[in-house]
C-alpha cells in the first residue's frame, strides 16, 4: 500500500519514453487523376501507401517522441520532392528514384508534408498530406481541404504556365470530395454522441483561405500552426490559411444534424453550381 504512490509517479514521469516508438512508412508518388463533383476527370498527384494510386495522400499518426522512418519512391516521370513544413529538410527525388529520411517528432501538433519543388505547382496538384502528432482519443476526424481549377491541372501537367497571381479555383474539396460526397467519407464526416470529445484535424493544402463555420456548436482551438496564441479560443468560425493546420475540440451539447461549411459561400459551389462545394454535416446522436 505504501509503495503504490511512488510507482504511479515513476510511471507518469517515464511515460514518453515508455511509449516512444520507431515507425516505418513508405510513400509512393504517383501521377494519375481526380474526379470533380460534376464527373470531370482531371490530372492529379498524390503520395500513396502502396504503389497503387488513390487520390488521398495518407494521414500519418505518430506520438511525440516517436521516430518516423520514411522511404519515398517517385513513380512519376518527372522529379518531385518531400518536406514536412516547419520541421524537416527538403528532399528532392528524381524521377524513378527514392529517398530515405528519419524524423523525430518532439512536439504535439499537426503538420503538413508536401512537395515544395516548383512551389506551388506540385502541392497544388495534390502532393500534400498531414501528420498528426499525439491523437488523444478515438473520435478523430481529418480534413485535407483545398481547391482546384480543372483547366489549370491540365495546363500544368502539359508543361504550360498558369497565372498564380490570379488564382481562380472552381472546385472546393475536403479529402478530395465535394458536397454531397463528403458525407460518405468516414474520415471527414463528423459523427458522435452528445458529450463525446471529438477532435477535428484540418490541413489546408490549397492556396486559398477557407473560413469554416459550424452550425449548432462552438469548438475550441487546440492547436494552430499559424496562430499559437489562439489556442483556447472558443469559436464557431475558423479561418484556415494556406499551408496551415488547425486542430479543434468539439464537445456536442445537443443532438442533431448540422452543416459545417466554408463561409466564403462561393466555396460551396462546384464549377459555379450551388451547393456542390465545401459543405458537409455533423451528425450527433443523443
Amino acid at each position: 500500500m505504501t509503495r503504490a504512490p511512488l510507482l504511479i509517479i515513476v510511471s507518469i514521469i517515464g511515460i514518453s519514453n515508455i511509449f516512444a516508438a520507431t515507425l516505418e512508412q513508405s510513400l509512393y508518388i504517383i501521377s494519375d487523376s481526380i474526379q470533380t463533383v460534376d464527373s470531370i476527370t482531371v490530372p492529379y498527384l498524390s503520395y500513396n501507401q502502396t504503389d497503387s494510386y488513390t487520390k488521398d495522400s495518407p494521414i500519418i499518426n505518430v506520438n511525440s517522441g516517436d521516430t518516423l522512418k520514411l522511404w519515398i519512391y517517385n513513380h512519376d516521370s518527372i522529379g518531385h520532392g518531400f518536406t514536412i513544413k516547419n520541421l524537416s529538410d527538403n528532399y528532392t527525388i528524381p524521377a524513378g528514384d527514392s529517398v530515405y529520411l528519419e524524423q523525430v517528432f518532439v512536439e504535439e501538433g499537426l503538420y503538413i508534408y508536401h512537395d515544395k519543388e516548383e512551389y506551388p505547382k506540385n502541392t497544388y496538384l495534390g502532393l500534400a498530406g498531414m501528420i498528426v502528432v499525439n491523437e488523444v482519443n478515438d473520435h478523430n476526424f481529418y480534413w485535407n481541404i483545398k481547391e482546384h481549377n480543372a483547366e489549370w491541372n491540365f495546363n500544368l501537367t502539359e508543361g504550360l504556365t498558369v497565372d498564380w497571381e490570379n488564382y481562380d479555383p472552381k472546385y472546393f474539396t475536403i479529402n478530395g470530395n465535394s458536397n454531397p460526397h463528403i458525407n460518405a467519407d468516414t474520415l471527414a464526416r463528423i459523427t458522435g454522441t452528445v458529450g463525446d470529445t471529438i477532435y477535428l484535424n484540418i490541413a489546408n493544402t490549397g492556396l486559398s483561405i477557407h473560413s469554416m463555420h459550424f452550425h449548432g456548436y462552438h469548438a475550441e482551438i487546440i492547436f494552430s500552426s499559424l496562430h499559437p496564441t489562439h489556442q483556447g479560443r472558443i469559436k464557431d468560425t475558423f479561418p484556415v490559411y494556406p499551408m496551415e493546420t488547425l486542430r479543434l475540440k468539439i464537445v456536442p451539447h445537443q443532438a442533431g444534424e448540422f452543416p459545417i461549411h466554408d463561409h466564403n459561400l462561393v466555396a460551396i459551389t462546384g464549377n459555379n453550381i450551388y451547393p456542390n462545394g465545401m459543405f458537409t454535416t455533423i451528425l450527433i446522436t443523443p
Binding site: P169, G216, N264, L265, V266
Partner: protein, 392 residues
C-alpha cells in the same frame, strides 16, 4: 448628459429584459432595381424588413435581445418567389430552428413560420437566409443579431468590460452581376437545391451596406470624446476577408470573438476577420484625434487587397468633470517596487502583461500590490482607462 442618456436607456430597456420576445420580420424581393448605391447605381435586392411595406436595405434590421430572452422570431415570406429561412448564425440553436432548408423547414411565399430560441451568450451574431445561401446572402438577406447581458449596465457580458458607446459594422461586398433579374430571380425548384451562379467579381465593398463618402454616416463614423470607451461590434458576411487597421492612439483591445470572450485579450492595431467571423474590440483614446480606420477587402484566393474603405474617427473634447467617471487618475509611485496607489477609488482594476494576459484583478480599491511581479512594464486598466506601469 451622455451618462444620463445611457442610464435612462437601460432603465427603459430593463422592462423588456429576459422575457418572451416576439419579433416579426418579412422577407421580400425588389421587383425592379431600386436600391441606390453610393455612386447612384440602382440595383435589385432580396432582403428582410420589419414592416410589410418597408424598403429593403442592406444589412437587414438589427435584432436586439438580452441574454436569457425566450425569442419567437416570426418570418413572413412576401418574396413572390423562392422560399426563405433565417439561419441564426452562431447561436447554436437546435436543428429545427437552425434555418437550413433540407435539415429543418423553409418558408414558402405567403407563409409565416416561427423560429424559437433562447438568447445565449452576450455577443455579436448574424442571421441570414440559408436557401441557396451563396445567392440569397449576396442578394442582401442578412443582418446583425446582438445579445446584451441582462445586467442593466453597459458591459460586454456580465462581469466583462464596461463601455460608454458602441458601433456595429457589418462588412460585405456586392457584385452587380449577381443582382441581375435573371440571376436573383432564380427559378425555385423544391426538388433540387442546385442553382447555377456567375463568377464572383464584386463591384462594391460595403460597411453596413454603405461605401466611400457614405461612411461618414453618423451611425458608422466614430464621433466620441476623449477617454470614452467605445465597443466595436465587427462582423463579416461577405465572401472576401477583411483586415481592420486601427490608429495606434485608439489603443485597440480585441476582447471576444463569435460570442465568446477570448482567453486573453489582444492588444493590436490590426485585426483580420474572415467570412462568418465576428469580433468585439474596445477603443479608447486619451487624446483628441482625427483619423481613419481602414478596412481592407481581401480576395481569399489570391490574398490580395482588392479595395480599402475608410471610416472616419473624430475624438474631440473631454468629458466634463461632472460627467466624466474616468476623471484623471494619478498613479504613484510609478515605477514601483510594491504597492501602486491611485488618486481615487477604482471600481475595477485589471493588470495585464504586454502580451495581454490578465495577471491580477481587484475591485473597489485605491491601490494594488505588485510585489510579486517580475521587473518590467505592464498595462493597468482602471475602470476602462488604460495606463502603463513599471515594476522596478
Amino acid at each position: 448628459m451622455k451618462q444620463l442618456f445611457y442610464i435612462l436607456f437601460f432603465a427603459a430597456s430593463l422592462n423588456g429584459m429576459a422575457q418572451v420576445e416576439t419579433t416579426f420580420i418579412f422577407s421580400k424581393m425588389d421587383i425592379e432595381a431600386q436600391h441606390i448605391l453610393w455612386d447612384n447605381t440602382p440595383t435589385m435586392l432580396m432582403g428582410f424588413t420589419t414592416t410589410m411595406g418597408g424598403s429593403i436595405d442592406i444589412p437587414g434590421p438589427t435584432l436586439n435581445y438580452f441574454e436569457g430572452d425566450s425569442v419567437e422570431l416570426k418570418l413572413r415570406n412576401m418574396s413572390q418567389g423562392a422560399s426563405h429561412t433565417i439561419h441564426l448564425h452562431g447561436l447554436d440553436v437546435n436543428q429545427q430552428n437552425d434555418g437550413v432548408p433540407h435539415l429543418s423547414f423553409e418558408v414558402g411565399h405567403n407563409e409565416t413560420m416561427s423560429y424559437f430560441f433562447k438568447a445565449p451568450h452576450p455577443g455579436t451574431y448574424l442571421y441570414h437566409c440559408h436557401v441557396t445561401s451563396a445567392l440569397h446572402v449576396q442578394a442582401g438577406m442578412y443582418g446583425l443579431l446582438i445579445v446584451k447581458p441582462n445586467t442593466g449596465i453597459n458591459e460586454t457580458w456580465e462581469g466583462g468590460f464596461l463601455y460608454d458607446s458602441e458601433y456595429a459594422w457589418m462588412t460585405s461586398e456586392l457584385d452587380l452581376a449577381w443582382h441581375e433579374d435573371s440571376i436573383i430571380n432564380h427559378p425555385h425548384d423544391t426538388t433540387t437545391m442546385e442553382v447555377h451562379l456567375p463568377d464572383y467579381n464584386p463591384d462594391y465593398f460595403l460597411v453596413n451596406g454603405r461605401s466611400e463618402q457614405e461612411l461618414n454616416n453618423e451611425n458608422i463614423a466614430v464621433n466620441v470624446t476623449a477617454n470614452e470607451v467605445v465597443l466595436l461590434r465587427l462582423a463579416n458576411i461577405g465572401y472576401y476577408g477583411n483586415t481592420y487597421h486601427f490608429p495606434m492612439h485608439l489603443n485597440a483591445r480585441i476582447i471576444s470573438s463569435d460570442g465568446r470572450p477570448l482567453p486573453s485579450i489582444e492588444f493590436s492595431d490590426s485585426l483580420s476577420i474572415m467570412p462568418g467571423e465576428r469580433y468585439q474590440v474596445l477603443l479608447q483614446s486619451t487624446n483628441e484625434l482625427e483619423a481613419v480606420i481602414r478596412v481592407d477587402y481581401i480576395n481569399l484566393n489570391t490574398q490580395t487587397v482588392e479595395n480599402t474603405q475608410e471610416i472616419s474617427v473624430l475624438i474631440s473634447g473631454y468629458f466634463s468633470v461632472s460627467e466624466n467617471k474616468y476623471e484623471a487618475i494619478n498613479i504613484y509611485p510609478n515605477p514601483s517596487l510594491g504597492k501602486l496607489h491611485f488618486s481615487t477609488e477604482i471600481n475595477e482594476i485589471e493588470l495585464y502583461d504586454l502580451n495581454g494576459r490578465l495577471l491580477k484583478t481587484k475591485v473597489n480599491a485605491n491601490f494594488i500590490d505588485i510585489t510579486d511581479l517580475e521587473k518590467g512594464s505592464y498595462l493597468i486598466n482602471l475602470d476602462g482607462q488604460i495606463k502603463k506601469i513599471i515594476k522596478k
